[in-house]
Symmetry: C2
Subunit: 458 residues, 2 copies
């Protein structure tokens, strides 16, 4: 079937779904799951405005003032009080000085009153501090309360609007460059399919004179599994943002790989990531062809689904080998190289299956949960070198692979999230491109779900 025919067949079936949810039990079910009509999401382009409409900054004190100043520096239309009936592009609520859960009431009711004036595809972003075991109980309760609120509000917003939060580690100011990079990501169309999630700013980051249109100018990135789907989207997105991209895939991907590399003026490297010398070969290619290596995106991955009761060693072992063991081995090579230093980045593709498990994917979930463990414990090694390491965890993303899922299963999977639709490969790529930015220097050890707040059953 051609791409066009396939797409139209999918549309036809999508119509059947729309019929089903339009009456009777189906409608009740749809209501409960929150599936009326999916919105067309606002996606990033370098020339588009950061948000569509004024930004209301809720909160008092130095933190809120500082955030408002940064937004003004970004040439945004900032409000410190809601103007009746004025449509808003975003609400930023700064809660960095919260001490007791009783203090949540005022800012939340202020937001609540402004919600009806949100434009389509608006943004709610909180800036607060994570609850720590060492906090006083009331402080921890207040701080963790924000988590429950943002995840609830994300489920209430409609028309493509999202709610997410920035968490400030101890000693990090609300307007620290790292925190502001996360705020900018959440406000922008880059975060279209990110909903109900948090990013932690764990160091100040650098107040770079960032070229927001081409933040990766001058850097060299490698993307594994780049011949198709999400990997190809990552390669294209990093190139759009200014990086020189080395597209890596297995020799069997040949023509597709060359096409991706050529289309973005990058280079292609045919390589099996499970080869013992994969890391060394990537380094060698990067240094000899491009003089440096700044960004590594571990995207290559496979699925070999079976219920554990029917699992065999070949399926299990190949998934572990490709999805996690190869990343561990390559990272050892990169971390041992003096060429991979300074403001270096590792970004791994995990999965919501690695967070919540998935039926028929015990091997895949093991590998993707493994990626999360690896990323968190690699952060200290990267920090020693001035770099960061993060993971993205995609939920249901529309690709050739998901197009093969049986109709009803796919329809349900794609709707079971707060945005009522599947994401696009580009949505995963945008999150990765964000982590790669110099402005995100203080943002490390995060696992960011790109899943529309998927109902995953953790």
């Amino acid at each position: 079937m051609s791409q066009t025919n396939k797409a139209s067949a999918i549309r036809d079936k999508s119509d059947k779904y729309t019929e089903f949810v339009s009456r009777g039990f189906g409608r009740d079910l749809a209501k409960r799951l929150g599936l009326p009509q999916p919105a067309v999401l606002r996606r990033y382009s370098p020339n588009a405005p950061l948000v569509e409409g004024p930004i209301l900054v809720v909160g008092q004190g130095a933190g809120a003032d500082g955030v408002a100043r940064v937004l003004l520096d970004w040439h945004q239309d900032v409000r410190r009080h809601a103007t009746p009936k004025e449509k808003l592009g975003a609400i930023v609520v700064v809660l960095d000085a919260l001490e007791h859960p009783e203090q949540l009431s005022d800012p939340m009711l202020t937001i609540g009153a402004a919600l009806r004036d949100l434009n389509r595809n608006a943004r709610i972003v909180s800036i607060s501090r994570p609850a720590l075991d060492s906090d006083a109980p009331a402080l921890a309760a207040a701080r963790n309360g924000v988590d429950g609120i943002i995840r609830s509000v994300a489920k209430e917003l409609r028309a493509g609007a999202t709610a997410n939060g920035v968490l400030l580690a101890n000693g990090i100011a609300a307007d620290a460059p790292s925190a502001m990079s996360a705020l900018r990501f959440f406000l922008s169309g880059r975060s279209a399919f990110v909903d109900g999630q948090f990013l932690t700013a764990s160091a100040d980051g650098a107040a770079t004179g960032t070229d927001w249109a081409r933040p990766l100018d001058g850097s060299v990135a490698v993307v594994t599994g780049a011949a198709r789907g999400i990997g190809a989207a990552i390669a294209r997105t990093l190139a759009r943002d200014g990086a020189t991209v080395i597209a890596v895939d297995v020799p069997a991907a040949g023509d597709h790989l060359a096409a991706v590399a050529n289309s973005i003026r990058g280079t292609a490297l045919q390589l099996d990531v499970t080869a013992p010398d994969a890391g060394a070969r990537i380094l060698e290619h990067a240094i000899s062809r491009h003089g440096r290596l700044d960004i590594v995106v571990h995207n290559a991955g496979i699925t070999r689904d079976k219920l554990l009761a029917n699992m065999d060693a070949a399926r299990w072992d190949s998934v572990i080998a490709v999805n996690i063991a190869s990343q561990l081995r390559m990272n050892e090579a990169f971390l041992a190289s003096s060429s991979f230093a300074g403001n270096a980045r590792i970004i791994s593709v995990s999965s919501t299956s690695g967070i919540a498990g998935n039926r028929g994917q015990s091997n895949y979930a093991a590998s993707k949960a493994g990626v999360i463990g690896m990323v968190r414990s690699t952060a200290k090694l990267m920090a020693e070198r001035g770099g960061t390491v993060n993971a993205v965890a995609p939920g249901f993303i529309e690709t050739d692979m998901t197009a093969k899922i049986p109709f009803a299963t796919r329809e349900v999977a794609r709707r079971l999230n707060s945005l009522q639709q599947g994401g696009r490969p580009g949505d995963v790529a945008e999150a990765i491109a964000y982590f790669a930015q110099p402005a995100a220097a203080g943002v490390t050890a995060n696992v960011l779900r790109v899943c529309g707040q998927n109902l995953v059953g953790q």
Copy 2:
């Protein structure tokens, strides 16, 4: 409507649901969500066997040997290798010495091969170590891999079987008393509605000569909100396990409260938990009437649901006041009292809404997320006094309150989990009773979901 009529009306509607999922789109949908026929879950009773059938212990080394010895001490039928065709009551996989994700293959394929021989309501329990940021990357990957596996297997098991895991903090042996108390909880019918979850043993705990039939003998417990529903179930369960129970509720609950207290030979205390002296009055009642206070269960809670856009201060503030501020204030009183010391316990009722947020419940989610923050940061204060503090997070539990939810919404909510049914108040109570046990002395700062691995959309 009488209780009997109400129950039969619910059954009628449940039949309609069964029809819907039996054909066409509904069947496909049901398959995807994993909702064929809910199993009758095996619930705990003091005289029932711990598990129904032999227990296969998978894994090698001192850890697995130690766990097998403990199971033998508990008079269980232990296997170290699967016997072809023999039906199993449980599989315990000991992975305390895991170093690399490649080592997951052998034990998991062993489990996979044994899955077809599981009895109904069987148990899979892993015993492993949590991934730490300070771990080497391969070690962290291996350890976190277990998380993905258990949550996947939990979604694959049928017929009331569950998969859960015990996590051993640094320095804690696989067969430490605290770890074994968690293992016993997961094996038993106490954990009927707990699926895909982990309990962390953070200290060795005491090798008590536990009377497993009446583990709370001699202790005095207070339960707030005890007049009805989950609170009444908690009071009854703690009393069944040997505790003397002080049943607390608001004066308006009068007769119900007295009935619960009388039925379990406890005492009733009419009290508004938001009163500034609530903690002092509970202490005074406990000491004067029963000579001590060992166990505090913060169960009292209210909902005042509204979308944030329609929220008012009265709704917001009352939920915060009852659900979290009162607990903070009462805990201060308890922690300041020399009467609440030794092997003391605080157990708070949170909610999956506090973990994942919920549409229309931003206030409730704030309060229940607040409870989680409070519990984690209160652990160090309780540890100084030799006590523990934990939370349970119920998912969809069948109560008078949930019986009022419109039919379709309730039907979907009750099925959207790996056990395809709502839980019972007693399921929440059993988890609380476990945390209250002397054997659980090393188990603190946990937030245990009692939700059948609910699809919550975090």
